[in-house]
Amino acid sequence: MLCLTGVCTVVAVGLLFFILGYLLVQGGASLSWNFFTKLPTPVGEMGGGMANALVGSAKVLMIATCLGVPIGFLAGVYLAEYAGGAFASMIRFVTDLLNGVPSIVIGIFAYTMIVATTKHYSTYAGGCALGVMMIPIALRTTEEFLRAVPGSLREGAMALGATKSRTIATVIVPAAIRGLVSGMMLNLARVAGETAPLLFTALDNRFWSPGLNQPTATLPVDIYNYATSPYPELHQLAWAAGFVLLTMVLLVNITARSIIASGFSNKTR
């Protein structure tokens, strides 16, 4: 039985390497300079790329970050430094609730709020959908890392006559900054792969999407559309896009997690 549990672990870890390896082989083969610089070509023509999806994903993620991180961060500061009692538990409850909402339901929400109101699909609708998904994690991350700052630092600043806001801004947040930044990176990496909320908010676009007001192609949605299409050349593009997406997500994860791990081994543990 003991050996069996080891086998389970090895299989789980093996799956990660299998997925990585398979994407590397399939996607790496069809990855070329064109992939990063060209628009998709009509079906049947070779040499298309996904430049518009890369830029679209970047724009959507930027909007998401601008919406989700400030709200989550400030609310996290409130929870860690100010709130107490019933209101604090209410915020925690609501955060858990929002965090548990399936991503497709967030998509419906963004659709009814933005797409149905403005009567068209747009980059910012997609960005807002992902932004809402970022809020709960940003909040939890902020609260967790601010709470990990030793109380002595807080008291030291207060003893020197700093006001509470000054203590937070110049002592507590800087002390926790490594954790905060890595937490936000993890948060971004998580929503970067989200497809469901973009399906009917950012929709898709075969061409460049100027500004923020038009539907845009994004990497995950294009992977889905290409993979479910009947054309082998689109399948190859899907593999390449999948490889790029997975590489970025895993790199951010590895970087952020090692920053968090090293920060903690030096200071608090």
Partner: protein, 325 residues
């Protein structure tokens, strides 16, 4: 005693700074700002619930509770029932749990009880990376690797069973199926079960292990009869968490489940799920169909929220750290 009484009373300032002064010195401003952010968070969540409720009114009023128990899905006659989707969601998730729970708990036991700490940390790191893989990538692997693999593996098993095939393993098999969706989901949720269960197991007090070993129990008996039962509520919690995630999982299921809006008895047949039908039809839907899809979203929302709540309570009950995630 006397001295503590005198120090406890702080020296009151002669005159409090006016509200305007305090506000612009930053303290009240920062309080107001952070409070506002928290209020926005609550407002967004309230709005989300309100939107789901009000936008599904059309469908709720027309179909009432029949929506949940009828199985027609006909956009032409505007007749909608959610049963095939609820059924598909529940069956794929149940299948995923059936595979992922023994597997995940096994791996968690290995990581918490047997592996040397360094190895355990390294492996857990990799398993958490597996949890970070986007679901659309699992869908991609599902379509192009898992489904062809199942097409090779399943027919011989079916032939071997012949007429003795149980009802859930019969009928034609085209690859895309409830079985494929269940397998993909199980791979996606296993990392959650593993990492949460591991933390719960690590939180079991050392004395219990030592006492059991001192009484002459073997390593396996200690683990299986002492440590795991002590952590059972936390492990249940991790399973609920995984279940909530698999119910709401959209892309990977949509890509391999076959998208067939009928109730099927065989795992080899294609099915559908709530999230998948929303993903497929919402962009083109309007009127009653749109409302029915939003009501499906509401059903999904209620299901996952209930499960998440139960999971959190269970994990809290075992007092493990990491329950907040």
């Amino acid at each position: 005693m006397a001295s503590s009484a005198t120090t406890a009373a702080p020296a009151r300032p002669q005159r409090r700074a006016s509200f305007v002064q305090r506000f612009f010195s930053g303290d009240s401003l920062s309080y107001a700002l952070t409070f506002l952010a928290a209020a926005v968070l609550i407002a967004i969540t309230a709005l989300l619930v309100y939107e789901l409720w009000s936008r599904s009114a059309l469908s709720r009023e027309k179909f009432g509770f029949h929506f949940l128990v009828t199985s027609t899905w006909n956009p032409v006659t505007e007749n909608f029932g959610a049963l095939p989707f609820i059924f598909g969601t529940v069956v794929t998730s149940a299948l995923a749990l059936l595979i992922a729970v023994p597997f995940g708990v096994g791996a968690a036991i290995f990581l918490a009880e047997l592996a040397p700490p360094k190895l355990s940390d390294g492996m857990t790191f990799l398993i958490e990376l597996l949890a970070a893989v986007p679901s659309v990538i699992f869908g991609l692997i599902g379509i192009f690797v898992l489904v062809p693999a199942l097409l090779v593996v399943v027919p011989p098993i079916k032939d071997a069973l012949g007429d003795h095939a149980p009802f859930f393993f019969s009928g034609p098999f085209y690859g895309v199926s409830i079985l494929a969706a269940g397998v993909v989901l199980s791979i996606m949720i296993a990392p959650f079960i593993i990492s949460v269960s591991r933390e719960v197991l690590l939180a079991v007090p050392k004395d219990l292990r030592e006492a059991a070993l001192a009484l002459g129990a073997t390593r396996w008996e200690t683990t299986w009869q002492v440590v795991v039962p002590h952590a059972r509520r936390g492990i249940m919690g991790s399973i609920f968490l995984a279940l909530a995630r698999s119910l709401g999982e959209t892309m990977a299921v949509t890509m391999v489940v076959g998208n067939n809006p009928h109730i099927v008895t065989s795992l080899l047949a294609s099915g559908y799920s709530i999230a998948a039908v929303i993903a497929n039809e919402f962009a083109e839907a309007s009127g009653m169909q749109s409302s029915a899809l939003i009501e499906l979203g509401l059903v999904l929302f209620v299901l996952t929220i209930a499960l998440n709540g139960a999971a959190r309570l269970l994990i809290l009950a075992t007092g493990a750290k990491g329950a907040s995630r």
